[in-house]
Amino acid sequence: MNPETRRNSPTVLILQIVSLVLFLLLWEWAAKTRAVDPLFIGQPSKIFAYLYQSVFVDQVLLKEAVWTLSETAAAFVLGSVAGIAFGLLFVLYEPIERFLDPPFSALNSLPRIALAPLFLLWFGLGPISKIALGFSLTFFIVLNNTVAGARSVDSDWIILARMLGAGKAKIFFKVTLISAVPTIFSGLRLGLIYALLGVIGGEIIASQYGLGQLLSLLANTFETNGVFAVLFFLAALGVTLSKLMSAIEAYLLRWR
């Protein structure tokens, strides 16, 4: 049996649902009887009540999510475009890569969240500082994957293209670049999650809007149920984004 069918088999799905329900019941019981202080763990029924309220009634969560998502989208698109562009430039003109390698390596090994204070100083409390942080994460991931993908092109493919009479430009666009798409795509998938990470991180540190800002506000006011509700929402958001990327990937890379 391949992993796909195993994951989707009904027995496993039923077991997963049953254990999730059991876990929530246990959690609810622990919070209700105060076996564990609900200040730390919240209470499932109240978490879902908060989720319902903030998604369907006052829609606070959705309004904040719009901020977070648009910042993430901006960081992701800018970071990916720049990452791919620099990656291709590096592959085409190696001297540029050698020239830029020291500062890029240094920036890439820096824990990017440490740049947050600087970005706040430069770009203020608004969305731009969050986009910059997301960008700084996505850019290097996509850059590295683009370079790795384009460098690992099968040399026989290149030889054959040369023998078939393809010039440098045709070889680059029709062979090297396309053969790198799968690797670039796994960079994009990771880059998207990291763009979200950067944006949320930035919002938690200092912001007026966004899910990160909401999260830190709720935590500071000991609204544990709200914190869990936002976390659940974020997890669902992350999974949705990943699935979306997978679907696009499966379509574009159907030849694999």
Partner: protein, 264 residues
């Protein structure tokens, strides 16, 4: 296609090749392959067959000796020369049809012409129903058929083939040898075919050239007087073929023995 001696022959004179590091891969090779001739080179592994082919293809720079191919000097990407390897080298992101069309695409052939030609050739190699399959969904033998079709999709008068069936099982190999002979019969080209399978060389070729172990020297040049058109599978049972085969085999041994006496 009309083949002319001047524009479809390969002329190799006193070619030597020394790899950096001092490996002498080809030693004083002189050989003429006539227009429309199917010539095989056989020889033990590592004797310099691929090196010689790549010198002719222009993939390795010629430093010592003279090579003229299809009326010009060796250069990668010349339209007069087609090239095929043991690995199918299909582009996995293209369907069988798109792979066959690729050759013309690189050379600026109009799309309609390429498409027509590619469909025709895929039909010839027995893959008409698999046009829209990606390489991952084709067997080894089928992939090599696509590669054959791609090689023939160009009007190049000269074809260089480096063990194109070397990676196939015996059964598939016989099938593909017949496919190649059919294509070649329909449109005669000059073929330089590299193999280390003597049986394959004898059944397919007009002439078989034997190279010695490294440094590769040409030690025998044998004509194969089997009538055309040939069927590789039918030949396996033909007594005349077996007679010629053992004749070639003894000439080969002779060459190798003499080689042994020459060796220090």
């Amino acid at each position: 296609m009309q083949l002319e001696e001047r524009t479809a022959s390969i002329d190799i004179e006193n070619v030597n090749h020394l790899f950096p590091g001092g490996v002498r891969a080809v030693s004083d090779a002189t050989l003429r392959i006539h227009a429309g001739e199917f010539l095989s080179i056989v020889g033990p592994s590592g004797c310099g067959k691929t090196t010689l082919l790549n010198l002719i293809a222009g993939l390795i720079e010629l430093r010592d000796g003279r090579i003229s191919v299809a009326g010009g000097s060796p250069r990668a990407g010349r339209h007069e020369v087609a090239y095929m390897l043991a690995r199918d080298c299909l582009y996995p992101w293209r369907t069988a049809l798109e792979n066959v069309m690729m050759a013309g695409e690189f050379r600026g052939v109009p799309k309609a012409t390429r498409m027509k030609r590619a469909k025709e050739l895929l039909g010839h190699v027995g893959l008409a129903e698999f046009e829209d399959h990606y390489p991952k969904a084709l067997s080894h033998g089928m992939r090599q058929r696509v590669a054959l079709a791609r090689t023939f999709s160009l009007d190049s008068p000269v074809m260089l083939m480096d063990e194109p069936f070397g990676a196939l099982d015996a059964q598939t190999k016989l099938q593909l040898e017949d496919v190649l002979l059919d294509l070649w019969n329909a449109e005669k080209r000059t073929v330089l075919f590299i193999t280390h399978d003597l049986n394959e060389a004898v059944t397919m070729s007009d002439r078989v050239v034997v190279m010695s172990p490294r440094p590769g020297r040409i030690i025998a040049d044998i004509s194969i007087p089997l009538p055309r058109p040939r069927s590789v599978r039918a030949l396996q049972k033909d007594p005349h073929y077996h007679e010629i085969y053992s004749n070639v085999w003894s000439r080969l041994e002779e060459g190798l023995n003499q080689e042994g006496r020459h060796a220090p």
